[in-house]
């Protein structure tokens, strides 16, 4: 089992979700996060004054998958989120030790799907 954490541009979320759905990956958790990276800040103007926020709003996706779905999920996220601009985000993959479905008490791979 793998755990995928992707940080992407907010405006790409719908594309990524569509891509995942098309590949049969339904399970996903999203959250709005703030962070910084190479994109640096965004400049706003308030009453003629510039204001640069160093933290930029992003969306974080978290997806638990069985091993055979890993590449499919990663490709779906890449396809949906890539614009070839700085700020497109990153995908992190880690091993997932356990997964438990609360309703049934199932453990492991069976609980993910």
């Amino acid at each position: 089992m793998k755990y995928i954490i992707a940080v992407i541009q907010p405006e790409r979320v719908h594309d990524v979700l569509d891509q995942l759905e098309a590949k049969g990956i339904h399970l996903v958790t999203t959250s709005t996060v703030k962070g910084r990276g190479r994109q640096k800040g965004l400049t706003h103007q308030y009453r003629g004054l510039k204001s640069t926020s160093t933290l930029i709003e992003k969306v974080k996706l978290e997806i638990a998958v069985n091993d055979e779905y890993l590449e499919t999920a990663v490709e779906a996220i890449e396809t949906g989120a890539c614009t070839e601009q700085i700020g497109d985000g990153k995908i992190f993959v880690t091993d997932l030790e356990q997964c438990i479905r609360i309703r049934t008490g199932e453990r492991g791979s069976a609980a993910i799907g």
């Binding site: 706003h44 308030y46 009453r47 003629g48 204001s51 926020s53």
Partner: protein
């Protein structure tokens, strides 16, 4: 990609330049179109300082008019609504940890100032001359004794009590305006003490000079100064006090780079909308009656505000501000312009024509923009929500503009303003401004000093970081869950 420099025909900027050009020509248009008033207006010529002028002579005085009473009741309620409107205007502009402290301070103005006004404030502003006209006699209407429900206020066709409650709403909003300057860092106890003292010691005397029938040295109204609905008494007065307050309190921690942008701009827009709406009561109500002058004030208030809102947005659009790209017209800029226009037309509202109003609104946004966007950063003071830049500067402009665009029938001996060939009116306006600026600045400074010694003006550093909502009021506006 936006325009990098200059403009290309057919792009959005082109229309804007035209708009700016048209507004720039307003002074000329105003001269051509604001002709002499009808006979009906001439009859009201003595009513120079409008609603509040106890020495004014109006023919129908002596009886209470039901139509006038109905209008002034509504107008009073409209003016009250401006303070919650201001609360949301300011509340949306601060950081999320301080919104309740700002809303609370505005509501305290509604409560505290009303009580003070009923006890003694009204008498200080509208009692008979005391100390050589410096202030009204506090004994005249102490506890509202002698203010009648069924007898007209001298010179008006509404009762004394109605006049009193209409004026009360003005006293409420004036100190509330100052809140924007010291927002996010003033201790609540210090705020309450300062507000109470400021209303009685600064607002009441200045209201007395201009509207209260003061004679002699302080008799600005008697001199012929035009202040229809409170440009000097309210906006210049509050704007100067705000400047003094924000300088004395010092900058917020982290200003300017570490201050987050406005946390809830839609609130600010809501507040600005309520201000615009309530301002009709403020300005048209200052006619004191349902007259042609009230209609004039209503019309020019709306036109000046519209012009100012569009002017500010246009300035932002044509000036390159963001990383060398063309600027964007912002919502915040548009409502800021609207408020600047409302402020500027206030002293002039009963006296100028619709085309004069365009000039007043245009000038307000240009001047306030320069102060807010250029002068304030250079000077380095932290006027959190630009009370001086918007209310002070546009208030000063409006007071002068009244002397420029007043149509014949108003002003000294009904001679109108500068554009009607009566330059002396501008001098009188400057005198009223000078008195107000000097008095407000000096006394506000002394009051703040005294409050600082007794209570301490500033919240502790840690409290300022956590936010005043939690530390001063033990509540938060936005819960984490649910």
């Amino acid at each position: 990609m936006l325009r990098r420099s200059g403009w290309v025909p057919g792009m959005p900027g082109a229309g804007l330049w035209l708009w700016v050009l048209v507004l720039g020509l307003m002074p000329t248009l105003a001269m051509a179109q604001d002709t002499a008033p009808s006979g009906a207006e001439g009859a009201n010529a003595e009513v120079i300082t409008a609603a509040a002028d106890v020495v004014a002579v109006v023919e129908e005085a002596g009886t209470i008019n039901t139509g006038d009473t109905a209008w002034m009741l509504v107008a009073s309620a409209l003016v009250l609504l401006m303070t919650p409107g201001l609360a949301f205007f300011y509340g949306g502009l601060v950081r999320r940890k301080n919104i309740l402290s700002v809303l609370m301070q505005c509501f305290v103005c509604m409560g505290l100032v009303t009580v003070l006004w009923a006890l003694v404030g009204f008498s200080l502003a509208f009692g008979s001359d005391t100390l050589g006209g410096f202030i009204g006699n506090p004994a005249d209407f102490l506890f509202l004794n002698g203010v009648e429900f069924d007898k007209p206020w001298p010179g008006l066709t509404i009762s004394g009590q109605l006049f009193m409650i209409f004026q009360c709403m003005f006293a409420v909003i004036t100190p509330a305006l100052i809140i924007g300057a010291f927002a996010e860092r003033m201790k609540f106890s210090a705020f309450c003490a300062f507000t109470a003292a400021w209303v009685l010691i600064v607002y009441c005397p200045v209201a007395h000079w201009v509207w209260g029938g003061a004679e002699g040295f302080f008799g600005l109204g008697a001199d012929g100064a035009l202040d229809f609905a409170g440009g000097t008494v309210i906006h210049v007065n509050a704007g100067i006090a705000a400047l003094v307050a924000c300088i004395m309190l010092g900058k917020r921690q982290g200003y300017p780079d570490g201050i987050s942008p406005p946390h809830q701009l839609p609130f600010a827009v809501l507040g600005a909308g309520l201000l615009w709406f309530g301002w009709f009561g403020f300005n048209a109500g200052s006619a004191g009656a349902a007259t042609d002058q009230a209609v004039r004030a209503f019309v020019v208030t709306h036109i000046a505000t519209a012009a100012a809102a569009m002017t500010w947005a246009a300035i932002e659009w044509v000036l390159p501000t963001v990383n060398g790209h063309g600027g964007r017209p912002t919502m915040l800029g548009t409502i800021t312009g609207a408020v600047a226009g409302l402020v500027a037309i206030t002293p002039a509202s009963g006296f100028v024509g619709p085309m004069g109003a365009l000039g007043v609104g245009f000038g307000a946004s240009v001047l306030s923009y320069v102060f807010v966007a250029k002068v304030k950063p250079l000077a380095g003071y932290d006027d959190s929500l630009d009370v001086f830049g918007v209310h002070g500067v546009s208030g000063l402009w409006g007071a002068i503009a009244a002397g420029i665009w007043a149509v014949p029938g108003y002003g000294i001996d009904g001679a109108g303003g500068l554009l009607a060939g009566n330059p002396v009116q501008v001098v009188i306006q400057l005198k009223a401004i000078l008195y107000t600026v000097v008095y407000s600045a000096v006394v506000s400074m002394v009051l703040l000093k005294v409050v600082d010694v007794i209570f301490g003006l500033r919240a502790e550093q840690h409290e300022e970081r956590v936010g005043l909502d939690l530390t001063e009021h033990a509540e938060v506006a936005y819960t984490v869950l649910d």
